[in-house]
C-alpha cells in the first residue's frame, strides 16, 4: 500500500465546479487562500467513513424556523424542500442539514452584524433536520432579505440561506448557500460569481415549486443538492 501511494497526485485549484480559493473580487480570500497545489488522498477508511446521526439528534421543531419563539416572525413564510444525493445519484439518508440565515429584513441575529435593519424578536434564523430514507428534507422559514457588506463600495449580498450538509463520509461535507430565482444582485456578488462555470452557478439557485406550495399559507422552493467527494461505500473493516 505504501508503495502505491508513494506519489500523490497534485490537484490544481479551480478545477471542477467549486470556486477557487483565491478570488480577488472577494477580498477576504486574499490572505486566506492556500497557494500550494493540493495532494489527492488515497481513499482509505479515513476518507470513506463519517458520523451517522440518529433521529434523537434533531428535535421535532428544529426544521421550522417560524415556530421557535412566542410569536411568528415577520416576512414571507416559505417552505424549502429538496433531495440530497451523492455523486453516483444515490440518496443520502439520515444526513444532517444545518441552516442559518438573515431575517426578512436582512439582519442576522449575530453580534458581528451591524446592518441597521431591525432584529425580529421572533426569529433566530437557525434550523436543522435529517434527510429521510429517500434523501428528502424540508424546512419552514421566512424568505431572508438582502443585506449590505463592506467588500466593495455599495456591496449587497443577494438573499440566501446558508446550508451545511453531511454525507456518508466526512469528506462529503458541503457548506453552501442557496439563492432565490431572478435576483438582480447576482451579477454584482463576488461570492456567487466565484463559481466560474455558469452551469455550476445555476445549481446554487433554488426553483419556485408550485406543487409544494400550501394554498393560503406559504410559497415553496425546491433545492436539490449533490454532494461531491467519494461516493463508494467503505468495506467492512
Amino acid at each position: 500500500m505504501s508503495k502505491a501511494a508513494a506519489t500523490l497526485e497534485l490537484v490544481r485549484d479551480g478545477d471542477g465546479p467549486h470556486p477557487p480559493y483565491l478570488y480577488p473580487d472577494y477580498r477576504s480570500t486574499e490572505l486566506r487562500a492556500p497557494k500550494r497545489p493540493q495532494l489527492l488522498l488515497p481513499h482509505t477508511l479515513s476518507e470513506l467513513t463519517g458520523p451517522i446521526y440518529g433521529h434523537d439528534s434533531v428535535a421535532e421543531l428544529d426544521h421550522d424556523l417560524t415556530r421557535q419563539h412566542e410569536g411568528e416572525p415577520l416576512g414571507e413564510r416559505i417552505i424549502v424542500t429538496g433531495r440530497v444525493t451523492d455523486s453516483a445519484g444515490r440518496p443520502v439518508r439520515s444526513g444532517l442539514i444545518e441552516i442559518w440565515q438573515a431575517n426578512g429584513a436582512g439582519r442576522y441575529r449575530h453580534d458581528v452584524d451591524r446592518h441597521p435593519a431591525p432584529i425580529d424578536p421572533n426569529f433566530t434564523g437557525a434550523g436543522r433536520c435529517l434527510t429521510d430514507d429517500d434523501g428528502n428534507y424540508r424546512f419552514v422559514t421566512v424568505k431572508p432579505g438582502a443585506y449590505p457588506w463592506r467588500n466593495h463600495p455599495n456591496a449587497w449580498r443577494p438573499a440566501h440561506i446558508h446550508l451545511s450538509l453531511f454525507g456518508r463520509a466526512f469528506t462529503n461535507r458541503l457548506v453552501t448557500q442557496m439563492y432565490f430565482p431572478g435576483d438582480p444582485l447576482f451579477e454584482f456578488d463576488p461570492i456567487f460569481q466565484s463559481v466560474r462555470d455558469p452551469k455550476a452557478r445555476e445549481r446554487l439557485i433554488c426553483d419556485f415549486d408550485l406543487e409544494t406550495t400550501v394554498p393560503e399559507w406559504a410559497l415553496a422552493y425546491r433545492f436539490d443538492i449533490v454532494l461531491g467527494g467519494p461516493a463508494e461505500t467503505p468495506l467492512e473493516p
Binding site: 501511494a5 508513494a6 465546479p17 467549486h18 477508511l45 449575530h110
Partner: protein
C-alpha cells in the same frame, strides 16, 4: 453535477454549534488558525473526524467541531486514535472560514509516533510532512493550521 461550495461567511455560529468534547477530560488538542499574514483567523470553524482508541471508525464517535476564539484558537478534548489500515494514527481535519470559498482538508499526526509516521503512506509521500505533525505541549497537543504563507499547512483533495 455536484453542488458548488460557498463560504460559511461570518455568521456561522448561529447554525453550526460547537461539539468539541468527544471525550470529556480527555486528550487536549488545540491550535490556531492563521492567515497568510500570520494573523489569527477568529471566524474559522474546525471539524475533526477520527477513529477510536482501538483504531475503529464508528458511526457514533469521532466527529467534533470547534469554533475559534479571538486568537484564532480551537479546542478539542478527545482520545488518541489507534492505527487504521497500516496508517499512522491521525485525525482528519477540515477548516471552514469567512474568506474560504471551500474548506481546507488536512490530517493531524502524533509526535510520539515517529516510526509509524515514517511508514505512513501519506506522510512518506510528502517532501515536507512537518506541518502535519502536532507538537507536544504541557497539557496536550498543539497543531496550528496556516492557510497561506511560508509554512502553509499541507492540504489535501479527495
Amino acid at each position: 453535477m455536484i453542488t458548488p461550495s460557498q463560504t460559511v461567511g461570518p455568521y456561522f455560529t448561529l447554525g453550526l454549534l460547537d461539539s468539541n468534547e468527544l471525550v470529556p477530560g480527555g486528550l487536549r488538542i488545540t491550535g490556531r488558525v492563521l492567515d497568510g499574514g500570520g494573523e489569527p483567523v477568529p471566524d474559522a470553524i474546525v471539524e475533526i473526524w477520527q477513529a477510536d482508541e482501538e483504531g475503529r471508525y464508528r458511526p457514533d464517535f469521532g466527529w467534533g467541531r470547534s469554533g475559534c476564539d479571538d486568537d484564532g484558537r480551537y479546542r478539542f478534548a478527545t482520545c488518541k486514535p489507534g492505527a487504521v489500515e497500516g496508517q499512522a494514527p491521525h485525525l482528519t481535519m477540515m477548516v471552514f472560514a469567512r474568506g474560504l470559498l471551500k474548506p481546507v482538508l488536512t490530517r493531524m499526526y502524533f509526535p510520539d509516533e515517529e516510526e509509524a509516521n515514517a511508514r505512513d503512506p501519506v506522510l512518506s509521500a510528502l517532501d515536507d510532512a512537518s506541518t502535519l505533525v502536532a507538537r507536544s505541549v504541557e497539557d496536550g497537543l498543539e497543531f496550528d493550521v496556516r492557510l497561506q504563507g511560508e509554512r502553509e499547512t499541507v492540504f489535501f483533495a479527495v
